[in-house]
């Protein structure tokens, strides 16, 4: 059940908390909880107000995407369109490049996610378990790489992609995203947390390194692999800057790039808020689905990966 082994306790602590608390709000039984309970309603009011602030924008987003353009401008606050219309969605899917962008995003995200998981697994295992010459150098280099801020690399990345002749191709979009140092770290930490004894047993039985890795280690790593899958999916689906510098062919536009250009009027769209918000809503759906299915894992991974 461990994701990155680091954060596991959180899940348990939180799973147990709510049921115990269920009846404690109005009349505290134990003297210990009297203080918090007395102010309990203030906390609830604050939390509910904050939650409204955080949720309301997304409700507005969905509602507006079903409004007509005049209504979106005249009455942005209402969450129920006076006249429901799917015109924005029809235009997106039938009269624009939107389906193409969607397809490109899916292709790139799937390729990047598979590649990343595979490479991160291999590298993480090598760093955690195999004693090879130059290991510490590679490790130090990885740390250095993680410190380089992404936006600084925009021009450099373009230069290399251009030089290698993979500009305006899926290769240029996918390959540079395949390795990510953070994922290697998560896998390395995970492998270090599982006992070596099982692998040693396999080795004594005569299994080679790759065999051990494939049939012993990998099946034990499903939770950690899921973490990387989710993080890679999220990362590559939401990636924008890399696609800006690696392509200019409209046939290779991804959702993020296409919607960004739609929004900034580079596709001369004017203020078509329902259309733009419909696009924003659709591009959020896949991440939202993954998020709601795996939210505990995502939240633990985020805390674990960043904090270490």
């Amino acid at each position: 059940m461990t994701v990155s082994p680091i954060r596991q306790p959180i899940v348990d602590a939180e799973d147990q908390a709510p049921p115990r608390a269920s009846d404690a709000r109005p009349a505290p039984a134990r003297p210990r909880v009297r203080k918090p309970a007395k102010w309990g309603w203030v906390v609830y009011v604050a939390l509910i107000l904050l939650a409204i602030v955080y949720i309301f924008p997304f409700l507005v987003n969905i509602a507006t995407s079903f409004k007509t353009e005049p209504e979106a401008a005249a009455n942005p606050l209402s969450l129920v369109p006076a006249t429901w219309t799917a015109a924005a969605y029809e235009r997106l899917f039938l009269n624009s490049d939107f389906p193409l962008w969607f397809k490109n995003s899916i292709v790139v995200t799937v390729l990047v996610t598979f590649g990343r998981v595979f490479f991160d697994l291999l590298a993480g295992y090598a760093l955690a378990r195999l004693r090879f010459r130059g290991r510490s150098v590679v490790f130090a280099a990885l740390i250095a790489v993680m410190a380089v801020p992404g936006v600084v690399l925009l021009i450099p990345k373009f230069l290399v992609i251009n030089q290698l002749g993979i500009y305006d191709s899926y290769f240029g979009m996918v390959i540079p995203l395949l390795a990510d140092a953070a994922g290697v770290f998560i896998m390395k930490n995970f492998f270090e947390s599982i006992p070596v004894s099982v692998e040693e047993q396999a080795k004594v039985d005569g299994a080679g390194t790759f065999r051990t890795f494939w049939s012993i280690v990998l099946p034990m790593s499903v939770p950690a692999v899921m973490t990387i899958v989710i993080l890679s999916f999220q990362g590559s689906w939401n990636e924008l800057s890399h696609f800006i510098v690696s392509t200019q062919d409209p046939a290779l536009t991804t959702l993020t790039k296409g919607v960004a250009q739609l929004s900034s009027g580079q596709l001369s769209a004017g203020t078509q808020y329902p259309l733009k918000l419909a696009a924003a809503a659709i591009m959020t759906i896949p991440v939202a689905i993954v998020f709601f299915i795996f939210q505990k894992r995502i939240m633990n991974a985020t805390a674990g990966a960043v904090k270490e």
């Binding site: 908390a17 909880v33 606050l77 390795a179 999220q234 689906w237 924008l240 929004s263 924003a280």
Partner: protein, 365 residues
């Protein structure tokens, strides 16, 4: 009998050699890709930043010449548009950082403390609600924000309910501090501030504060990042709850006292992590600007990251664009080093024994 040790040594060296080869085989893809698309690009960009490459052909062909520090001096002391743009971008991003980081840190800590209360119904719901903006793409959020903060948008409608006429957010280049000064009657800048300048921007303009448009971006950054940092604080808070809290409770400390004198000091490591990640992240604003304003209105949302991009890709000034990238890198490194220096005090909280590698930076995005 005598063969046994011999065999053993041979076998061991065999395993060693094999591990060497397999180790490198396993790690090769990551090393090659990172080398090819991280290390090599940095070297190439370093060359471009001291060259006069125009974007045509290869930067290594004979037509590209070495120009020394010309690109850097054009940005830092050229006296022209390049210098003024860089100064403006630095100012804009500076206000963005100085406002976003404290706000997002304070808000995420507040959210974490509220959500982490021992007795709370619907904890999962609140956590999800606060974290959800962090997983959505910056493009989608920016599109939404442009609508919320449009002239007749949701925010202005809400402001109108309380009798405030909201600005046309993303079209308003006025600096917040300038507006404040204006409301106090200072409409013409003092000569001392207007006459002197730094990086091509007069001191009066340095003191403008974030523009109204930039303020909307600041609110957006706080909205989208507070969830992530809330999770870090929750994780830290859950490591804390225990004897110390109970001891303080038995001693009769109020909730506020416990927070101030027990919880907060022990959260220091996380606080530093959050602030550092915030600093590094906020100096890299790009997606939002590209999607939202392209630096406008009147260049008040221009950031070094976006300026570097547009100088190279839109104006074909590749040398200057690369140079801006390196200067931005230097700024971020500067903050990373400060973080290192401060984090050194972290050893006073002996909580992390399990991991030997130094903490990786910049895992969020």
């Amino acid at each position: 009998m005598t063969m046994a040790p011999q065999l053993l040594t041979r076998r061991r060296s065999g395993i060693h050699g094999r591990q060497n080869a397999t180790g490198w085989l396993f790690i090769a893809p990551v090393v090659i890709i990172l080398g090819l698309f991280l290390a090599l690009p940095v070297a190439m960009a370093a060359w471009v930043s001291v060259s006069d490459w125009t974007g045509r052909g290869s930067p290594f062909s004979g037509t590209t010449n070495f120009v020394g520090t010309e690109n850097y001096s054009a940005i830092l002391s050229g006296g022209g548009l390049a210098e003024r743009d860089f100064g403006t971008a630095l100012r804009n991003n500076f206000y963005y950082v100085i406002l976003t980081v404290p706000l997002q840190t304070a808000l995420s800590l507040l959210l974490a403390v509220l959500v982490n209360r021992r007795i709370l119904k619907g904890r999962g719901f609140f956590r999800t609600a606060f974290y959800f903006p962090s997983v959505t793409s910056s493009v989608a959020i920016t599109v939404l924000w442009l609508f919320l903060f449009s002239a007749s948008g949701v925010v202005n409608k809400l402001l109108a309910l309380v009798g405030v006429a909201g600005p046309n957010w993303f079209q308003d280049p006025n600096g917040v501090l300038h507006l404040l000064a204006g409301s106090l009657g200072i409409t013409t800048p003092p000569a001392a501030l207007a006459g002197t300048s730094f990086l091509g921007v007069s001191w009066w303009d340095w003191l403008s504060g974030p523009s109204v448009a930039m303020s909307a971006f600041i609110l957006m950054a706080v909205f989208t990042t507070s969830g992530t940092f809330m999770l870090l604080f929750i994780a830290a808070l859950q490591n804390l709850q225990g004897e110390l809290q109970e001891a303080a409770m038995l001693d009769g400390a109020t909730g506020w006292q416990r927070f101030l004198y027990v919880t907060l000091p022990m959260l220091r490591p996380t606080l530093f992590t959050v602030i550092t990640l915030g600093l590094i992240g906020t100096w890299q604003v790009f997606d939002q600007i590209y999607t939202g304003t392209q630096g406008g209105p009147a260049k008040t949302t221009l950031t070094p990251a976006y300026l570097s991009f547009s100088t190279a890709f839109n104006n074909q000034q590749w040398g200057q664009g690369a140079a801006i990238g390196f200067l931005l890198f230097a700024i971020i490194i500067f903050f990373a080093i400060i973080q290192r220096l401060i984090l050194r005090e972290r050893t006073t909280v002996p909580r992390r024994k399990r991991f030997n590698p130094p903490p990786p930076q910049g895992g969020t995005k």
